[in-house]
């Protein structure tokens, strides 16, 4: 699963930066679709929910989503792994 911030909903309040236990959300500098400064994600793969939601069959932590006053945070399925597209770097 992948953690995403909806550009159209986020109003840049940075509440997520306060509540994420892993410190994944960082104050951003780039304006989103509506001009608010959207937080950025720092190594989102550390998110428990990203890694383990499917495994447990239920939502874990979820502090960011419950707190987000603008219903802008969610998890989406990642693209399936496509071996033929892997570019091997030497």
């Amino acid at each position: 699963m992948k953690l995403v911030i909806n550009d159209h909903r986020c109003k840049g309040c940075n509440m997520c930066t306060k509540v994420c236990p892993y410190g994944i959300f960082q104050e951003g500098a780039r304006p989103g679709a509506r001009g608010y400064i959207i937080p950025v994600l720092d190594h989102p793969e550390r998110c428990t929910n990203c890694r383990l939601q499917k495994f447990y069959g239920r939502q874990l932590c979820g502090m960011c989503q419950t707190t987000c006053p603008d219903q802008a945070i969610s998890w989406i399925d990642e693209q399936p792994f496509e071996p033929h597209k892997v570019v091997i770097e030497y």
């Binding site: 840049g12 309040c13 502090m63 707190t67 006053p69 603008d70």
Partner: protein, 264 residues
């Protein structure tokens, strides 16, 4: 039903200011409703007037956005006619305790089976930041430019004294506990009153040295004292420090409720 289905997705994003805690309270309420497995057609959201009361417009079920202060009276009508309906009332501090104060104490006295989520942001937000009955002593608002010189209500004590069966207070920082409290409120028959201390950075914070929503959240985290700790301190003779407030579950009792369908 998924959590997302409980939102009127076609109405989002909502009208609340950046950093407003109302959206958080809406999340917690809908999560509690979703966890309990309620069906849309058996759930009704009712609200009065004010920022808090716009919440009913974002819930995907029958919802009634009523007049200022009267939400509880409307809810009483719905509940008495359809007792199997889960009726949840969104209200604010001004809506609930100023213009709706009489309806509030009487709904508690009747102990009618409603769940009241009172979003207390200490101020009238929709009209631009006037003092409310819950504005803390000394706080600056547009109608108390020299500091609030009246004492605020303790809504939880009011609800308890008036007869509510379930009373709790949390903040928009305590999302897990708040969700749990709303869940309990929905499960306990009779009137359940959940007060949520919520940030209004736009109208309250900006006048009281907390311009950022995150500063207000920090304030909640620092000033909220768990009820168990407060009880321990009181027993040890230590009074609550000024500016601090107690959070937790205050009342859970089983006095005879009104508006509960008799088991057949």
């Amino acid at each position: 039903m998924n959590l997302e289905d409980w939102y009127r997705q076609d109405r989002l994003p909502h009208i609340y200011c950046a950093g407003c805690g109302n959206g958080t309270v809406l999340n917690c309420t809908l999560r509690a409703v979703q966890e309990l497995g309620f069906r849309q057609e058996e759930t009704t959201f009712i609200s009065g007037i004010g920022c808090s009361s716009r919440a009913s417009g974002y819930t995907s079920s029958d919802s009634l956005h009523t007049t200022h202060g009267r939400a509880l009276a409307f809810a009483t009508g719905v509940k008495l006619v359809k007792p199997h309906q889960h009726v949840i009332v969104f209200t604010g501090d001004g809506d609930c305790s100023a213009i709706g104060g009489n309806h509030f104490i009487h709904a508690c006295r009747r102990n009618i089976d409603l769940t009241v989520v009172c979003i207390n942001n200490n101020i009238y937000g929709m009209t631009g930041g006037q003092g409310s009955p819950c504005t803390p002593y000394g706080a600056i608002t547009t109608t108390t430019p020299y500091g609030m010189h009246e004492q605020p209500f303790d809504l939880c004590k009011l609800a308890e004294a008036a007869g509510a069966n379930y009373v709790a207070r949390w903040t928009s920082y305590h999302v897990k506990e708040l969700t749990e409290a709303i869940r309990s409120g929905l499960e306990v028959p009779g009137l359940s009153f959940i007060e949520v201390m919520t940030q209004c950075p736009t109208s309250f914070g900006s006048k009281n040295k907390m311009r950022l929503a995150t500063q207000m959240i920090d304030m909640f985290r620092e000033n909220a004292v768990l009820k168990v700790k407060a009880d321990r301190d009181t027993a040890a003779g230590k009074p609550l420090e000024p500016g601090k407030f107690i959070v937790g579950e205050f009342v859970r009792r089983h006095n005879p409720p009104l508006g509960v369908e008799e088991s057949k």
